[in-house]
Symmetry: C2
Subunit: 286 residues, 2 copies
């Protein structure tokens, strides 16, 4: 399909640069007027159409992309669109949602002839800005192939991982590993201090060791900066680990290492740190 | 110091290529005749002197390097050397040992005028062969500086992290993170299968995601190969995680995420898998 009109809902830290990339790469983009007028205005300056409501957008766009914090917001928006969508449209949830909710929405929209594709991303704000996200896609192949050119404007790696909901499953697994690793790094750093080794020394070595990871480098950079007021919030990390636990429960198993990591996130959120970046758990004193 | 005679004890998968690198870079190397004659013979072909016993080696080498599986073997060898060492010698433990044992040995040898330096490595057999190990060094600065040229023949990153035992502490922290991450990957893979997503698909995505790590790539390679009969043994991994727990206990704290990972290693070892590579825990069916 050549440059379909794309509706984009959710112009946060990730969504805004993603919508910008679509415009830069020649797609027609439609966004919704917003309480905060800055994001739509900055996109309008690049050629985006600004409409008055999600319903107006849903009535006109061929592809509707959602980049929202949780399944709750996704469900609210989809319910608002349900009366205006038309057969042949594709709705794409690029957030980290609950696969159970995803499959429920997909079935509801399928009954209206509308495809619902889960296409969550990894790569953070930097990847969103650079258009280098990794995108894991769940849903029916025909719809996935229709939107592939759109996804390739946002990311460099686009993998169709399986049926509806499996994109969200793989994203949850990615976050299970990355977020639990952050909790492990926090344990290691506490132990280093108790043993008289400075955190900066630990990172100096471990970035060249078998413990090196994207997560380790990210935590090291945040701790060096000493600021935790932007980035990936602890409350959202807790949400993702809870989704992993729910997946395991549904399969009749338990995640023991992940459960211990979730307990660390629970403690941090209960201590009022929920709006801070995840690296803040590695800055807490034991 | 210019090319001191170096004694090397422990010619296993790591030690043999390390000793070979010393010879290639012009150091005089001395090794001990062994039940398995192949390792000493292959080094003798490169110019190594072969002596009859650790005591003969300890009596002649200026620097003695130990590359042994655990503190138990280190203590045995050091006790064997105690009567022959002379003031000014440096003994270097490059294995992953218990820092408590390390500090005890250091004090015992210091009373004889001999420096005991802990200098464990990360980088695996490949790093040992290529001479690109990362080496974390604990002990007194003067002795560390004396052996730095020797260490730089074995690795590219040599960091003096603190006093005696802290090299071993940092190595244990590295392994705490890497080995517990392996247990997390095992949980994620089990969940993927239960959710109908193939392991190979998970790796295809996650190697491009925020969950990417040296450990993830290593586990992916092992699982693809389907062989676990070489590499880093589960029993040694369990030993390292137990050392981490002991460090925490000595500091009056608990490692909760690490403890859950250790439980997974315990189960695998109890199931008779102790001699397999750590990635085998990610191959176990739930």
């Amino acid at each position: 399909m050549s440059s379909p009109p794309i509706g984009f809902i959710g112009l946060g830290a990730m969504g805004l640069p993603m919508a910008r990339n679509l415009l830069r790469k020649g797609f027609q983009v439609m966004v919704v007027r917003h309480r905060d007028p800055n994001a739509p205005a900055s996109l309008a300056a690049l050629g985006a159409a600004v409409v008055d409501s999600p319903a107006a957008l849903g009535g006109r766009a061929e592809v509707v992309i959602l980049m929202l914090p949780t399944s709750r917001e996704v469900e609210e928006v989809v319910l608002g669109l349900a009366d205006v969508v038309r057969p042949g449209q594709v709705v794409v949830d690029m957030g980290t949602s609950d696969p159970v909710s995803t499959r429920r929405i997909a079935a509801m929209l399928a009954a209206r002839g509308v495809a619902f594709i889960d296409a969550p991303v990894t790569g953070g704000v930097k990847g969103a800005e650079a258009g280098t996200l990794t995108i894991m896609v769940g849903g029916q192949s025909d719809a996935v192939e229709r939107i592939r050119p759109v996804l390739l404007a946002l990311g460099t790696v686009v993998v169709h991982v399986g049926e509806s909901g499996t994109g969200h499953v793989v994203k949850i697994l990615n976050n299970l590993i990355a977020l639990s690793t952050t909790a492990l790094i926090a344990e290691a750093l506490a132990l280093a201090e108790q043993s008289g080794v400075a955190r900066s020394t630990v990172f100096e070595v471990l970035e060249h060791g078998s413990a090196n990871s994207a997560t380790l480098r990210g935590v090291a950079a945040r701790l060096k900066e000493g600021r935790f007021d932007s980035g990936f919030k602890l409350v959202l990390a807790r949400k993702d680990l809870r989704l992993a636990e729910a997946l395991a429960e549904a399969a009749g198993t338990r995640l023991e290492v992940t459960a211990a990591a979730l307990a660390a996130y629970d403690r941090a959120c209960d201590a009022g740190m929920g709006d801070l970046d995840t690296a803040a758990i590695a800055a807490m004193k034991k």
